[in-house]
């Protein structure tokens, strides 16, 4: 029988790893993701999980150990937060280009300086263009589900890409929420055993990662790009199966909330979606025609789905929880891609972005009410006067 538990995001991810029967784990301590490794260490010590638990000497090593293990044919898991995520940066491209379906759980943490334990998406966002699948969980249940879903997609031979499975530090990683743990048989039905087309096996010698000439490079880049293009069909298939087997109701790419007849919407991903839902519900009770669109996969970016979802509104407020210093929108990263997605749409909504939840600050209801006011003003004025609002630091809407 599937059973219901109260689990933090880290504990939920550990349960997913156990049920996915990961074979090689590599750890290194950094808050907040560490709780995942502490859970896994206990499972290995108790005999609940038969895996090699390797104490990495740093995040760069964590990714390197699991890369080797994945190439040898083992299902692997590692993870990190904040500066740990950026410390491992060198390894991300070789892993994706080597088409090793490594899974990395990222529990976001603000980058230094100064030292800050709070959650912010900048750590993972800084690594987004290497050829990894990537998406955020809103709550521990989604963290659990996303782990299984990503193994299934990443390990699919039509894709073979690594996965950053992200959750907001503390807000998801450490606040317990309801998690339905499925039957092992359900997981086994959904997730086939890991196989790699050409593992490192002396019975079938292969060379991984030879030196190429510049004219051979584009071909490999194209193949990595193609894997990202091929991923959406596989994502759709996997989500369909997941919903059927586990009785869930996920949309593959974007999820809408109270968008019927809405004139404006928040575009958001991760933990703060939960507060945004409450804000939307309250504003609706006040007669404000607002909804929200949640992004489930940042990579591959669902251009079509984003365009379709957002083009029905008159104004969209993109909630940014990351920084892109000096970028075209002067704020975070998401608005760049949102605007790019809407470029070919004949009836484009007005768009702007809100810097909120940086450094791990909460995004309270009143900040969402403020954002709604800005969006209402944009509709009234018929234009977006700014591309970015630093919420809490602006004189007025």
């Amino acid at each position: 029988m599937a059973k219901e538990m109260e689990l933090s995001g880290c504990a939920a991810s550990a349960q997913a790893a156990r049920m996915a029967k990961v074979e090689v784990i590599c750890s290194y301590p950094i808050r907040p993701y560490t709780a995942l490794m502490m859970e896994l260490a206990k499972m290995v010590a108790n005999g609940e999980l038969d895996a090699e638990f390797v104490y990495g000497e740093g995040e760069h090593a964590q990714l390197s150990v699991v890369a080797g293990a994945s190439a040898a044919g083992a299902r692997v898991l590692t993870g990190s937060s904040g500066v740990g995520v950026t410390y491992a940066f060198e390894t991300y491209s070789p892993i994706a280009g080597g088409r090793l379906p490594v899974q990395m759980m990222i529990a976001d943490r603000a980058l230094d300086p100064p030292g800050d334990f709070g959650s912010e998406h900048t750590d993972a966002m800084s690594c987004r263009d290497q050829g990894w699948l990537m998406g955020w969980a809103e709550n521990p249940q989604e963290a659990f589900d996303n782990s299984l879903i990503n193994y299934r997609i990443g390990e699919d031979h039509r894709v073979l890409l690594p996965q950053y499975v992200c959750q907001d530090g503390y807000f998801v990683s450490h606040i317990p929420g309801k998690v339905v743990l499925p039957e092992q048989s359900q997981v086994d039905e959904f997730l086939p055993p890991y196989t790699l087309p050409h593992p490192l096996d002396p019975k079938h010698p292969v060379s991984h990662g030879p030196q190429i000439r510049p004219d051979q490079g584009t071909v490999m880049d194209l193949q990595r790009a193609q894997a990202m293009l091929d991923a959406p069909a596989v994502i759709q298939e996997a989500i369909g199966d997941f919903n059927r087997i586990f009785g869930r109701n996920y949309s593959p790419f974007v999820e809408e909330y109270m968008t019927d007849d809405a004139e404006m919407a928040f575009f958001i991903m991760g933990a703060h979606t939960m507060t945004a839902r409450h804000a939307v519900k309250h504003l609706r009770s006040q007669g404000v025609k607002i909804g929200l669109v949640k992004l489930r996969f940042l990579r591959p970016w669902p251009t079509q789905e984003v365009a379709e979802a957002l083009s029905k509104f008159r104004a969209v407020g993109v909630v940014e929880t990351s920084t892109s210093y000096g970028g075209a929108m002067r704020g975070g990263n998401l608005l760049h891609e949102v605007r790019a997605s809407l470029y070919d749409v004949p009836q484009r909504p007005l768009t702007t972005s809100f810097m909120a939840g940086l450094g791990g600050e909460m995004v309270p209801l009143k900040e969402f009410y403020y954002m709604a006011e800005v969006l209402a003003k944009m509709i009234k004025d018929g234009k977006a006067s700014k591309t970015v609002y630093w919420v809490g630091f602006e004189a007025e809407a």
């Binding site: 074979e23 895996a51 390797v54 760069h60 090593a61 080797g68 083992a74 060198e90 010698p205 292969v206």
Partner: protein, 326 residues
């Protein structure tokens, strides 16, 4: 870390004519003529045999070897970053432990060998190498030492000898000796602080049977092992490519390189000269030392003399003083 039972016992080779004919490092590479590192690779691969996985950190033994569609490795091989050879090797070994335990792979644990340059071993790759040794993986880390960052155009590395002319240590009026620092000692770094390590040895392309037997001993032990292999580089050291073996021999005859094994806390020496030649004999054959003055040579001699007397390396034979006429 659980250790899979390894029953392998690669037999030791008595004479050079008993060396196996099979090659696992085959033609197809683009290393310089007389390349010491390529020669030792061939010997290591022969000694290890077919049940082997090589990890190749970036360096000459990657870049000058692993050209797409004609790599010279007849056993599985994977490129690693220059930074992480030890970590990737650890992962491969860990995967095999669990896959064999779960019955997903059959047979013996393969020989997992990380073939790293000096930079990839004791400079930028030091952390990953040390951690592999610390964690007790059943894998072999080889530092093929060409005493420089060769692939990037011969820059000084931590094993580049004192007084070398490299592209980062060019001699000039202000710094007449070129490189002013004395080198790191890789095997001592490993022996010094890694209780899980079972076997450490130094080897040289000048003594191929000794080299291959050390590879086999290192692979027969269960647990981590480390080999430091002297591999002259004609391009970097500036000598004629026909003299690779001669130079390698002279390094041992002058005490610039020592052949030893360390096992169960004990040292054993091989091919120790009856009498050491002055280091000058070795230095004079190489363009990288051509600019050195008498004072610099004396400084190098003093370093070697002290090293030969250092604890752990008992020297029964008196060291001859540098000869004035040489």
């Amino acid at each position: 870390m659980a250790v899979a039972v390894k029953t392998q016992n690669l037999p030791l080779i008595k004479k050079i004519r008993n060396i196996p004919k099979e090659e696992y490092y085959v033609p197809g590479h683009r290393t310089c003529a007389g390349c010491g590192p390529a020669l030792q690779y061939k010997l290591v691969a022969k000694a290890a045999g077919p049940n082997t996985v090589f990890l190749g950190p970036t360096g000459c033994m990657y870049v000058a070897n692993a050209s797409y569609l004609c790599t010279p490795y007849a056993v599985p091989w994977m490129h690693t970053q220059i930074t992480n050879g030890g970590a990737v090797a650890s992962g491969v070994e860990a995967a095999y432990q669990v896959l064999i335990r779960k019955g997903k792979r059959e047979g013996e644990l393969p020989n997992v060998i990380c073939m790293a340059g000096d930079g990839g071993s004791v400079d930028i790759g030091l952390q990953a190498m040390s951690a592999m040794m610390y964690r007790g993986h059943d894998a072999l880390f080889i530092c093929y030492d060409n005493e420089a960052y060769a692939n990037t155009g011969i820059q000084t590395s931590p094993t580049t000898p004192y007084g070398s002319n490299t592209t980062f240590t060019p001699p000039g009026p202000v710094i007449p000796e070129g490189k002013k620092l004395f080198p790191k000692d890789p095997p001592q770094l490993v022996i010094g602080g890694h209780p899980a390590v079972k076997y450490v040895a130094t080897a040289s392309v000048a003594f191929p049977v000794d080299l291959m037997n050390k590879v086999r001993k290192a692979l027969n032990v269960q647990g981590p092992a480390f080999l430091h292999i002297h591999a002259p580089c004609p391009k970097g050291w500036k000598f004629n490519e026909s003299k690779t073996i001669e130079i390698a021999k002279l390094a041992i005859q002058t005490g610039m390189w020592n052949l030893y094994e360390w096992e169960n806390g004990e040292y054993k020496y091989q091919h120790k000269p009856k009498e050491y030649k002055p280091v000058r004999e070795y230095l004079k054959l190489q363009g990288r030392f051509a600019h050195l003055s008498e004072a610099h040579i004396a400084k190098q001699q003093a370093f070697v003399d002290a090293k030969l007397k250092a604890p752990g390396i008992p020297v029964a034979i008196p060291i001859s003083p540098p000869r004035a006429e040489a």
